[in-house]
Structure formats: C-alpha cells, structure tokens
Subunit: 411 residues, 2 copies
C-alpha cells in the first residue's frame, strides 16, 4: 500500500505541446501489460539528462550519453524509447548493439536519425533484451502517439511500482500559458546517484540548451538525489528534462522574466515525482523525512541523513511503529564524523524532543514517541549544532513486503 499516493487523474495531467506519447503491450517480460513507451518530440526541443554513476551502467545509459554529446547534442533529439521488464544492464557488447538497434528501428519508423533517439530500459539485470518482441511492439506504440497520453505513459514504465507516477503544473509566466508535466517509475533498487530509475519531465517553454542542462542537474539534486528506499544505486537511473519551446515563453538565461518561476515548477514536479517513488517504495507503510541541520558541510549532513535512512534497524522499527529511537543515535554515531560531540546534538521526532546531552531528553516520554510513530508521515530531525549546512532525505520503512517483493521479483 503506497503512503498517501494514488494514481494520477488523467484530467490533471496537462499536455505539453510538442510532446506526444504512445505505448504498446509488447510482452517484453509478461504478457498483456504496457511495457514499451515512445515519446516523440517536436523539432527544436532542447533535451538534457543526468544518469546513474553506477560503473555497471546499463547499455541504454551509455547510448544516451553518446547521443546527447553528438554534434547535434540535446538540440537534435526527436524521440525517447523506453522498455520495462529488462534492464539491458550487465549485457556487455551485445547489449550495446541491442540498444543501438532499437534506436535505429524507431528512427526508421519516425523518419529521423538513430542518433536522435534516446533509449531507456528498466527491469531485470544480466538478461538480454528480447529484441524481436521489442521490435514487434514499436509500430503499435508509434500508432498510439498522442499529446494526451501521459497517464498511459506513466503506466507503461512501471516495474514493481504499485501506482503510476505522474504530475503536472501549469502557470501563466510572462504572459504565456506554460506547462510542466513529468512521469517517473521506481520502487526498489532506489538510491539514485543522479536520478531515479527513470524520470521524464517536459515543459513547453523554450529554454536554451545550456540552461536545460543546468536545470536538470539542479532538479535532480533537489529531488531524485535526495531519496532512498534500500540504498541500492541502480544501473539504469536516468532523469530527462525536455523543453519543447511551444508555449511562447522563451528563456535564455536565469535572469529572464519567468525563469525563476519555471525552474521552481520543474523542481516541484521532480520532487513530487521523487517523493512518489518513496511513497510507493517496495513494501512501504511509512513516508519518512530525515532532516539533518547544523552540520559543518553538506557532505556531513548527507552522511548522517543516509546513515539513518539506510539503517535496516531503524526502518524495521518504523514499520513496527516502535519508538526504539536509540537506533537513530546509533546510526548518527557510525555516520563517519570522527570529531562528533554526541553531547551537543538534539534529536526530534516531529515535534517531540527525544534526545539531548548524549541521552534521553528529561521530558521525553515513551507515549510521545509512540504517538508520532503511529503516523504515516514522520520527520526525523537531527540538529548537530556544529555548523550551518543542512539536508533532507526522504525514505520509507522496511517491511515484510519488501522481503517478499524482492525474494519473488523474477518469478
């Protein structure tokens, strides 16, 4: 059961002019479900992406990187091709050949160059992409292309997700009606080191390519790079930002009218999509925000936040709604800050002051912790009181269902 997350209402997903989406049931891994997605972009769209830092990055990620640094760069990209069911990772040279061949096949159908297509895959690692089925599914997906198909697109990229993830924002900026719409997928193997498994965000504003490249990085840092389900950084993480340029708003620099507002909309969409992944985290029953303040450096804040967010002991205690909060102190203690003064820090659970001066706060009572633990959304706040850096990481609990889902993933 996802935490405060329901399937998107298609009526609330605003089409983005210049962006059409079409999906097919190609039987990549399981029959009868949407598993291939094509996104066609109008000529002149600016496209940029951030990708996993996993050294075993998937073949499609390698091809994406090549196609985005080609002469045409992100200005020539005309289509995205996504399949679920097979990650095409750990597949060596044959995997690269498959990723390139799938771009070529879609390019043939759309009348563009293979290097104008970006490929994406998600699913099981170490298994070859079933090229025959993928190829056979492409015409159906192309025939389905429509600017109103964001909801079906979100559905087509799901793996162990229980809910499709899509979100849309709309505003009048500098006189133009501007939209930002995005989709994402992911539920396990989530500790993005760039982005989530897959995220696609599009706006109809015209944004200069260097700025698209900068904003996709900043948006990832404020969203997908701040979530974790199980600490496993995937081989396929990709976040793509598209600016189709059809709305009448034109942004060349961050000082242009509407730029700040548009960037905020993009970050908002990316963050909402990222949090949706945690809310639908495998087996999740609780949505946990870990806030670390008063750190000396950003790295220090992140180290403490991730130590807490990755601790199986903390995650199981939250699953049980058990305020066994000493486990949080323990994680702070092993986060790697050698000169940490444990007597100087404060720990809060929502509004409850749990620990101070190296031990339990004098006013802390078990029932206060218990009360907060019953909630579906909880904030763990650590004030290190040694500097001015802060960070927030979003995560979920660790339940029986996480084990079940991942023990049975391939069956």
């Amino acid at each position: 059961m996802p935490v405060n997350l329901s399937a998107p209402d298609p009526a609330q997903l605003f089409p983005v002019a210049g962006v059409e989406l079409g999906s097919a049931r190609a039987g990549i891994r399981k029959p009868g479900r949407r598993d291939v997605l094509v996104i066609r972009l109008a000529a002149g769209s600016a496209v940029a992406g951030v990708f996993t830092r996993n050294r075993f990055c998937a073949a499609p990620v390698q091809v994406c990187r090549e196609h985005l640094v080609d002469d045409a760069g992100g200005a020539g990209i005309r289509a995205l091709l996504v399949n679920t069911g097979c990650a095409n990772a750990g597949t060596g040279r044959p995997g690269l050949d498959d990723a390139r061949a799938s771009c070529a096949e879609l390019a043939r159908l759309l009348g563009c160059d293979a290097r104008q297509v970006l490929p994406f895959s998600t699913g099981v690692i170490l298994e070859p992409l079933p090229m025959d089925r993928l190829r056979a599914g492409l015409p159906e997906a192309v025939a389905d292309l429509d600017a109103g198909h964001w909801a079906q697109a979100a559905e087509a990229i799901m793996t162990t997700d229980t809910v499709a993830k899509a979100v849309s924002r709309r505003a009048t900026l500098h006189g133009a009606d501007v939209r930002v719409t995005g989709i994402s997928k992911g539920a396990g193997m989530i500790r993005p080191n760039m982005a989530t498994m897959l995220g696609f965000v599009a706006t109809d504003a015209a944004v200069a390519l260097p700025l698209v490249r900068q904003w996709v990085r900043e948006a990832a840092d404020a969203s997908f790079n701040r979530i974790t389900v199980d600490g496993d950084t995937s081989t396929n993480d990709s976040l793509i930002l598209i600016a189709s340029g059809r709305s009448g708003l034109r942004i060349e620099s961050e000082r242009d009218p509407g730029a700040a507002e548009l960037k905020a909309m993009i970050v908002d969409v990316a963050r909402t999509l990222a949090q949706a992944i945690v809310r639908d985290g495998e087996g999740a029953t609780k949505f946990i925000s870990v806030v670390v303040e008063g750190a000396r450096t950003d790295d220090e804040a992140a180290a403490v936040a991730y130590a807490i967010a990755h601790s199986p002991l903390i995650k199981t205690a939250f699953f049980a709604s058990d305020p066994n909060l000493g486990r949080i102190l323990c994680a702070i203690g092993y986060a790697g800050i050698d000169d940490l003064d444990v007597d100087a820090l404060d720990l809060y659970l929502d509004d409850v002051h749990v620990a101070t001066a190296g031990g339990r706060h004098p006013q802390y009572r078990e029932e206060d912790g218990q009360r907060v633990m019953q909630k579906a959304e909880i904030t763990i706040r650590v004030a290190l009181n040694r500097g001015a850096s802060a960070t927030t990481v979003w995560t979920c609990d660790l339940s029986h269902d996480y084990v079940s889902i991942n023990a049975d993933y391939r069956s």
Copy 2:
C-alpha cells in the same frame, strides 16, 4: 534457524586456568534468564581490548577505555562484568555514573579496585541501566564463579541470539598444554568496526601485554571486522583478549617458540566466534562468504565486498534462492571505484562462472546458478583483475524473520 551452528558442547569447552565465570538471573529486562556475567581473572593476567568506533559509544565502552589506560593498564584487570538487556548507550552522564558504580560494586565483592573491573552492556539503547536489579544480582554471580562455566557464560550474554556461542582450542606448545577459549554474542546491529557486540577470548599462556594488545587488534581484523549482518555498527562492540599466564607457556615476542601457533589459535577462535554470529544472524537462512580478489588496495576490496554484503536486494535474492545475480554486478558498480573496468572483472558463485566481459558468461546457465543457490553456505567471488589485494567478508541473507525480529525487538 541458525546456519550450521549448534549450541556448544560444554565438554568441548576447555577451562582456562586463572579464568572463572559466574552468572546470575537478575531480571535486567526479562525475568528468569541468565543476564549478568562476572569473569574473574587471576592476578597478573594481561588484558587488552578493541572497541566500537561508533561516536555514540556506550558508557561501559568509555569506562573500559579509561580502565585499560590507567597506570595499571591491562596488567591490573581482575574482573569483567557483563549485563544483557540494556546497552547503557545514549544515556549521557548518568549512564557513565551507572557504569562506574557497577564496577565499584563488583570490586567491593571481589576485594579489588573499581579500576580493575571492565564493564560491558548489551541490549536496548537510550534506556537507563536498572542499577538496583544489577546490584542485587551480583552476589549470585560471584557465588557461581567456576572455571568450568564457559557454556553458561555464553548463554548469559545472549540477546536476540538463538544459540549460545563458544569455542575452544587446545594444543601442546613448546612443551606446555595451552588452551584458548572464547565466547561471543550478537545477531543484529552487526557491522563491527573493531569487534562484534561482545567477544571474550582467553588463553592460559603468559603473553606480554604489548603483544596481547597487538594480537587482539589483529584477531579482530581477521574475524569480527570481517562480518556484517545489517551494516549497523553497534554502540557497544567490544572484543577482549585475556592471557592468564597459568599454562607454563611464556611469550614475550612474536619470535618466541609457540608464538605463531598460539596466535593462530587465537585468530581461529575469534574467527569461529565471528562466523557464529553470522550463522545466527537475525533471520539468517544462508551463510555467505564474499571474496573479492585482484583489487588495487585493501580498501577497494573491502568497499566491493561490503557493497555486496549490505545490499538488501542481494540478501533477499539469496533468501529466495533466486539466482538474480545481476544485482551483484549492480552492487559492484556502485561500490565507489570510479575507474573500474566492468569488462575486465569476473564473477563466480561457488564454482560457477557467472559473468565476464561485462555480461553473462557464455557457458552460464540458470540451472547452474539455481543449483548453488539451494545450498546453505555459498561463496560469492569477484575477481576485479586490477591488482593484488583481496579480502573476505562473511554475511547472511535478509529474510522475513529479520523484519519480524527487529520490528518486535523491544516487546
């Protein structure tokens, strides 16, 4: 169900002259179980320890460090006091006062100085030590002191352990009958960064104190520092090595006759005790050795080994006996080696060559992986093929029972 681990046979636990053990049922946390242990040492015993690097280290760990660097150093230690049920960690100054008071109380009963007592606690963090019950239990434990009580001692330090852990070795060295006997406890919050939760190893050889100090560190590095259950480094990890000097073997330097053999016995006992913790890891159904070879540095080998050993996705796949081995490649990929050539490495599961040249080995068949996955003890071997460093880490799988045990730990 622990993996190939049964309770120790008391007849196989050789007494160590100069070391007596006594336990009591003090009701520290739950009634009716042994939860307080006293170990009395003959005058002149050499004692050294290694302790957790967690910054939130428990009060007893802080007191141990003080007492081991006092003027008397490790040569004056006459007793160890261990309680289970409460970790006395995250307890601030009152926790330190309690740890010191418990040493003083035992010292009074044994007729020694408080600084000649080392205190140890294990159990729930952030709760005060129930001093009244601990104090009340001490006379019973002292009355129970006996050199033959190693098995009861192992039982008295258990928390979520399902099996008591004790092991013994005996040899004739340089004409003397020499024994090494040890006990340990631990099942969760296990990623020792020094030692396990608690480990005590004693020999009746006379070993010079500087050598005891050196050997306890080397033994920890070859044993407790190579295991992980859940990646949570505890607040209370402690490994203690005692040399009572009653056997007639006297070791002043590593070049003395019998020194190499004795050291090997100590490492063997420590490693067997450490592996017992993994075999009895919370919810464990499989014992997994992660061997990383051909790394450029020891740190690099350890980073890859721990990335594999901590991945919840890998651990759940092993629980399910599912050869979803792409997850291992994924973990290697995010282990932090920036210039790793994934095409150069090889992955083996026991004798099965799984991956090479960046993808699946041509001869690998699913049924080969399936066959190995059915076993209770499995070796994952990664040949990085880029250097001469290697390491081994022992871990277990992640099962439903891990979640159950840790969701219910305090109830």
